[in-house]
């Protein structure tokens, strides 16, 4: 990915320039890394502005049954961090790529790198380091990292490593988060704030939660793009979320359902991405109509 000389990172630029943005998620290695490559390319063609790739971990927290099953399939297929990075090496997408994984995977990568590097050292420290993961990710061309189980209070080492290698560090914000904790999170966030539409686990639902509106209102004072996820499965949801004021919409479980159930997943993913992107643009248009007289929203552009 090219690094521009402006203050906008790849990710912020992708969201602002393609406003309203579509952010798609699939689990790497479900059902194989070869197929993941094909699916990522399809999502890119379908109009994704950012693509999140899940690096599977055996003990995830707060993933719903759909993504949990995808993670299990990916682990059964033998997906490893090194295989994952090789995949990212191979991918040439227009949309910047992010990795979503658990802190354990980042620490484990650091400690196995350390033991490889210092095999002759008398005293292996067993103190893991987050930098090798970030360095390898940057080298492979990742633009950002999301770590659901990393509290903002403990994010400094990863934050510094991401800054050094030019990666964004995205945080998830719950509908219940406010006050001091929201400030703490927002002081660490870069790229975009991942706004969770409702409490609970990931997974496609039928409606958009009213909590979304409250969350977006609380976040409006922070100058970072906001994208809403958890429970988005249709173009109409995307429209509603953008209309509520989000800069982007995040879709995961609905795509994984397609991978698991479709005869031609690549085609189905591309079509779904198109539907969602159209929905998002419709939401932005409705918004523009409602807010006549206010500063004109960035005009939605299709790629």
């Amino acid at each position: 990915m090219s690094q521009e000389g402006t203050t906008d990172s790849d990710i912020e630029a992708a969201i602002r320039e393609n406003h309203p943005a579509l952010i798609t998620y699939i689990t790497a290695g479900d059902p194989s890394l070869e197929e993941t490559k094909e699916y990522v390319e399809a999502l890119d063609r379908g109009g994704s502005d950012l693509i999140e790739l899940g690096l599977p971990f055996s003990e995830p927290i707060a993933e719903g049954p759909t993504i949990q099953a995808a993670i299990n399939r990916a682990l059964d297929a033998g997906t490893t961090p090194e295989g994952f990075f090789d995949l990212v090496d191979d991918l040439e997408t227009e949309a910047p790529l992010l990795v979503m994984t658990y802190y354990n995977m980042i620490l484990q990568y650091g400690s196995s790198e350390a033991s490889r590097a210092s095999e002759s050292d008398a005293e292996p420290s067993n103190k893991p380091d987050v930098r090798p993961f970030v360095e390898r990710g940057a080298e492979a061309g990742l633009s950002g990292i999301i770590v659901p189980d990393l509290p903002a209070e403990e994010a400094d080492p990863l934050r510094e490593a991401c800054d050094d290698y030019g990666l964004d560090l995205v945080f998830i914000v719950a509908p219940t988060t406010e006050g001091e904790r929201l400030d703490r999170i927002m002081s660490q966030v870069s790229g975009f704030a991942y706004v969770q539409a409702r409490l609970g686990t990931t997974g496609a639902r039928a409606d958009v939660s009213g909590a979304t509106h409250d969350s977006l209102a609380r976040l409006s004072e922070y100058d970072v793009p906001k994208a809403v996820g958890f429970g988005v499965s249709e173009g109409d949801h995307a429209a509603e979320i953008i209309e509520a004021g989000a800069d982007g919409v995040i879709v995961g479980s609905a795509l994984i359902d397609l991978i698991a159930s479709s005869d031609d997943p690549a085609a189905a993913l591309e079509a779904k991405a198109e539907e969602l992107k159209r929905g998002a643009i419709r939401g932005a248009d409705d918004n523009a109509v409602e807010s006549v007289g206010e500063t004109a929203a960035t005009s939605p552009s299709e790629r």
């Binding site: 055996s58 707060a62 354990n104 484990q108 400690s111 998830i172 999170i185």
Partner: protein
């Protein structure tokens, strides 16, 4: 972190939606659980419902055999047959007083699930237990017990279908239902405040033992020994002695040997690493190691963060007791004293015997954390009892 860490171990490594409920729980714990009314109700229930204080027993035959004074803290005699009830009562009371009407818990062998079902029935709280399918099959009696007391037992079929998978499932339920649900964590593991809260509820073990052994011997023991899976019975015993000149020994599930690739000994093994698991920073077995112990209650890849700290600062020595050593101690205590220990507790007995043989300690206090009825099938097949 502002609180909840043990020299950098522990913390609250959970997704944002769980941060607030955990902060609330920590606040409720600091507030409600320290009130006199709460303490009085808990103390009464510990006495009348759970059967505290548990006796301290001088193991005369074992002591004669090995030339040390060996004392057993008889948590195996509590209601439910293990120390688990101490914590279950404390947390369920706290949940009730905080306005929750539903309890969830994970369980491996079924001991903690049973304790949770007991307090759920006692306090009229809806109770759901998550248990790996593998464990449901090998601990059928405990499943029947839980259901009999009105708990719903959810079979977890993902992953390895074991304890770690049950924890994952329970965490998901908690994330979804935080408004009315209390997650009754069964050991000194997980995100803050669980490690310190469970420790406090279990520390009654050491407080009693400390008084009892002083009454009996006029002094403190030279060593305190307990098995360590998550480590709640061990912390429960150690805590009251933490500032005393008493050596601590933790016996982990050594499986096929803590230098093999099949064990549950993240502290004793040289390949253990600092890592994040189930919401806490702690010591975890190396990634080339398969978690294994003959005892389901020790079959866990991580350990409570306070133990990780005890190891780092050298306050406690941790050793892997192999499956074979634990089984030998299980048989030996049964034969010499007429007490059948849980396989978990047998690890502590085995470590105590090693220490007695080494001859460096005169008085050894062992936490006999549970009884062995649940392990009869394992014993019957190992020792050809049928």
């Amino acid at each position: 972190m502002t609180d909840g860490t043990f020299d950098g171990y522990g913390g609250r490594h959970v997704p944002d939606p769980l941060q607030e409920p955990l902060e609330e729980l920590a606040a409720a714990y600091d507030d409600v659980a320290k009130s006199d009314a709460f303490r009085t109700e808990l103390r009464d229930l510990l006495e009348e419902f759970a059967g505290r204080p548990s006796p301290l027993y001088y193991a005369r035959n074992l002591s004669d055999r090995y030339g040390a004074e060996i004392y057993l803290k008889r948590e195996d005699l509590l209601h439910g047959g293990a120390h688990k009830i101490n914590n279950a009562l404390g947390q369920a009371l706290l949940a009730k007083r905080s306005g929750r009407d539903r309890l969830i818990a994970e369980t491996g062998a079924g001991q903690h699930g049973t304790a949770t079902a007991m307090v759920g029935a006692l306090l009229d709280l809806e109770t759901e237990i998550y248990m790996g399918k593998k464990d449901v099959e090998r601990q059928e009696m405990n499943v029947f017990r839980m259901r009999l007391m009105g708990a719903e037992v959810n079979e977890v079929t993902r992953g390895d279908q074991g304890l770690a998978d049950a924890v994952d499932a329970a965490l998901e339920d908690f994330a979804e239902n935080v408004a009315d649900t209390h997650y009754l964590v069964g050991s000194v593991v997980g995100p803050d405040p669980f490690p310190r809260m469970v420790r406090d509820f279990q520390s009654v073990i050491g407080r009693e033992a400390r008084e009892q052994i002083q009454e009996r011997t006029g002094g403190l023991p030279d060593a305190a020994v307990a098995c360590v899976g998550g480590g709640s019975n061990a912390i429960g015993l150690f805590h009251a002695f933490r500032d005393d000149p008493v050596d601590f020994y933790g016996a982990e599930g050594g499986g096929e040997g803590s230098d093999s690739t099949k064990h549950a000994a993240p502290l004793a093994s040289e390949t253990g690493t600092d890592d994040v698991l189930h919401g806490m920073k702690t010591r975890v077995i190396g990634d080339d190691t398969e978690v294994h112990s003959v005892s389901a209650g020790l079959d866990y890849p991580g350990v409570g963060p306070e133990h990780a700290m005890y190891r780092a600062v050298g306050r406690c020595e941790y050793t892997g007791i192999t499956d074979e050593e634990a089984l030998a101690a299980f048989r030996e205590l049964s034969e010499t004293e007429g007490i059948v220990p849980a396989l978990e507790s047998s690890h502590a007995v085995a470590r105590a015997i090693q220490l007695a043989e080494a001859g460096e300690h005169e008085t050894i206090l062992v936490n006999l954390s549970g009884r062995g009825d649940k392990d009869m099938e394992t014993a019957a097949s190992k020792f050809d009892l049928s």
